[in-house]
């Protein structure tokens, strides 16, 4: 009852209603008053009676509606505008500032969500995923799952591919596609279909590419003809918030439950710890050329990456490992404390555990060795890197077999390996056989 008298909104509306009614009644009685001037008093009385009736009616109405009305007015007054669609708040419909919040345009054009709403959605998603025992996996397209080339970039030696393209009526069984309307050809990486099928059982998958939206959609159709894996989770470069950078701000998932598969480290500078760097897939000659490699591409060599032994298969093993580590923890351990990044680090640290590595003339002398890419890779893999040789050293990494340290390694029967051994181990998530990476006299790579 106190609400009824205290709420300012309520009292002003009742004034309006009463005065509105009065005004209406006044015009109707004034029409007839021309004939009945003597009945002014009566009119006044009737007005007063009507006003009282109106007030009585109102009080009755108010008892029923006051709580409802006050609540809605309070709701409108305190609506937090957690998101907007086409410039209007999604809860109350009022206009909101156009640039507020993050644009989630890949789901639908014009949709924007505020930070608190994003946090709420991510938390809700986390609970859902823990129940389903799934994590999130973000996949890059180019050079990770497939390789595309424009038709006019293809060399004459690659013409045989045009006639060998797989049918677009039977996408599920094909891997090389000719897309006339986009004037390009696409080759899917070997093992990709099996990879997607198995990853789908452990992860909710997203596509995040630096291509434009139509390209992203076409590729999603080739990878996922049944529309089971990605749904609307296809993020293209038009949907990112920063140019040339990919970010998890437009992804509706907790950062601690996201793994990223990409061939470019620079695109994910803010989320390096979630990233699993993939070896680039170069099928077409234009792709090799783009990256400055003078070697022959797979299409010219008429061969392809190994199916069961290639990059995707190795990464799948790692993903299975991290997934099982995440969900097979002691049930007493709170799930919200688990972080997929920690598990990734620990899986990586096991690969070269126990190795002690010395580098010989691999880094320029003025350069601090600890900041070199190879040093960091080796440490991430669990090895210990040293500057000077001693008896505990297990590997010497060199380009030249005639350096002091290289000769020392051969004399002491330690492993003498090419720097590519570290890179291969890093990309394939498995300690590579040292004998396959000998250090040769030849300078060409």
């Amino acid at each position: 009852m106190t609400i009824v008298s205290d709420s300012p909104v309520h009292s002003s509306s009742s004034d309006d209603f009463a005065s509105f009614l009065d005004a209406e009644l006044a015009t109707s009685t004034s029409d007839s008053s021309a004939d009945e001037e003597g009945d002014e008093e009566e009119n006044l009385e009737s007005k007063r009676v009507k006003r009282r009736k109106v007030e009585v009616l109102e009080i009755l109405e108010d008892v029923q509606d006051s709580t409802a009305r006050v609540e809605t007015s309070k709701e409108e007054a305190i609506c937090a505008h957690p998101g907007s669609f086409g410039g209007m708040c999604i809860i109350c419909g009022q206009r909101v500032a156009e640039e507020a919040g993050v644009a989630i345009a890949y789901i639908h054009k014009g949709l924007r969500l505020d930070s608190p709403e994003l946090v709420r959605l991510r938390n809700a998603d986390m609970k859902n995923k823990l129940n389903q025992k799934k994590l999130h996996l973000i996949l890059d397209l180019d050079h990770t799952l497939l390789n595309s080339t424009m038709l006019f970039h293809m060399t004459s030696e690659e013409d045989y591919l045009k006639s060998n393209a797989d049918s677009l009526q039977d996408i599920q069984n094909g891997s090389l596609f000719m897309l006339e309307h986009m004037r390009m050809m696409t080759k899917l990486r070997p093992y990709v279909r099996q990879f997607l099928k198995e990853a789908n059982e452990m992860f909710e998958m997203h596509i995040y590419t630096m291509g434009d939206k139509p390209y992203a959609r076409e590729m999603a159709k080739l990878l996922d003809p049944g529309d089971q894996y990605f749904n609307d989770r296809i993020i293209s470069r038009d949907d990112g918030t920063q140019k040339h950078q990919k970010g998890l701000d437009v992804v509706l998932a907790e950062e601690s439950a996201v793994l990223i598969l990409d061939d470019t480290e620079n695109a994910w500078t803010k989320h390096r710890e979630n990233l699993i760097l993939m070896e680039r897939y170069h099928f077409f000659a234009s792709s090799c050329q783009q990256f400055g490699f003078r070697c022959k591409s797979l299409s010219l060599l008429k061969s392809d990456e190994s199916d069961t032994d290639g990059a995707l298969a190795s990464v799948l093993r790692v993903l299975k490992r991290v997934h099982s580590m995440y969900f097979d923890e002691d049930p007493r351990d709170a799930p919200s404390n688990r972080d997929v990044r920690e598990f990734l680090k620990s899986v990586r640290k096991e690969i070269l555990q126990g190795c002690r590595i010395v580098f010989s003339r691999v880094f320029p002398t003025s350069f601090p060795p600890e900041s070199h890419q190879l040093w960091k890779m080796a440490e991430q893999l669990g090895a210990t890197c040293l500057v000077e040789v001693d008896s505990s050293v297990t590997h010497v990494v060199a380009n030249d077999p005639n350096t002091e340290k290289s000769k020392w390694a051969t004399n002491e029967t330690k492993y003498l390996v090419h720097p590519q051994w570290i890179e291969a181990t890093y990309y394939l998530w498995q300690r590579q056989v040292e004998d396959k990476y000998p250090v040769n006299q030849s300078k060409s790579q």
């Binding site: 957690p82 669609f85 086409g86 410039g87 209007m88 999604i90 419909g93 639908h108 014009g110 859902n128």
Partner: protein, 176 residues
């Protein structure tokens, strides 16, 4: 809501279209220009039903184009705040669902979906009541109330709710 109104427009015509078929050319150009467009005031022009009159043409200085003021009758569609509308669901996700009623795109946030309906993800994401009796998924027909509308040059965006009485699924596509 649909309205049948008279609008006026100045049509510019290139002299190559003059001749016996001037009027037909003018009307064809009008239809091409106007049908399917949106204006903030009138909403979406669905179809032109007839030409009321075509005024005298004025030759523009400098160019040879001639401007004709044309008055025409057309059917327009304009949604209003507070209107009840039936729409077809096009996309369902954890934030709510998107529905379409002709050219109008409507978003119903999950805050404005009754609390007893929960989001189920999967092959066919949907919102279902706890006993499974009511289900909102792609291609369902729903009756909703508009709580905000915005019209721009080519599209109309609306925010809707189904949290009131008598709103919600009309027709379940799985049983249809």
């Amino acid at each position: 809501m649909f309205f049948h109104i008279t609008l006026e427009r100045n049509m510019q015509l290139h002299p190559r279209h003059f001749g016996r078929n001037l009027r037909e050319n003018l009307i064809a150009k009008l239809m091409k220009d106007v049908e399917g467009t949106c204006s903030g005031r009138h909403g979406f022009v669905v179809a032109i039903t007839g030409i009321e009159n075509v005024g005298k043409g004025l030759i523009r200085d400098g160019t040879g184009f001639v401007t004709f003021p044309v008055k025409y009758r057309c059917v327009v569609f304009r949604p209003f705040k507070g209107q009840i509308l039936e729409a077809v669901v096009t996309m369902v996700n954890k934030m709510g669902f998107f529905a379409e009623a002709g050219p109008v795109q409507i978003f119903v946030s999950n805050h404005l979906i009754p609390d007893d309906m929960e989001f189920q993800s999967g092959d066919m994401p949907n919102y279902t009541t706890s006993d499974g009796s009511v289900k909102i998924q792609k291609d369902s027909e729903v009756r909703l109330k508009l709580i905000g509308t915005r019209v721009d040059a080519t599209e109309i965006f609306c925010i809707g709710t189904i949290k009131d009485d008598f709103l919600g699924v009309i027709n379940d596509p799985t049983t249809a």
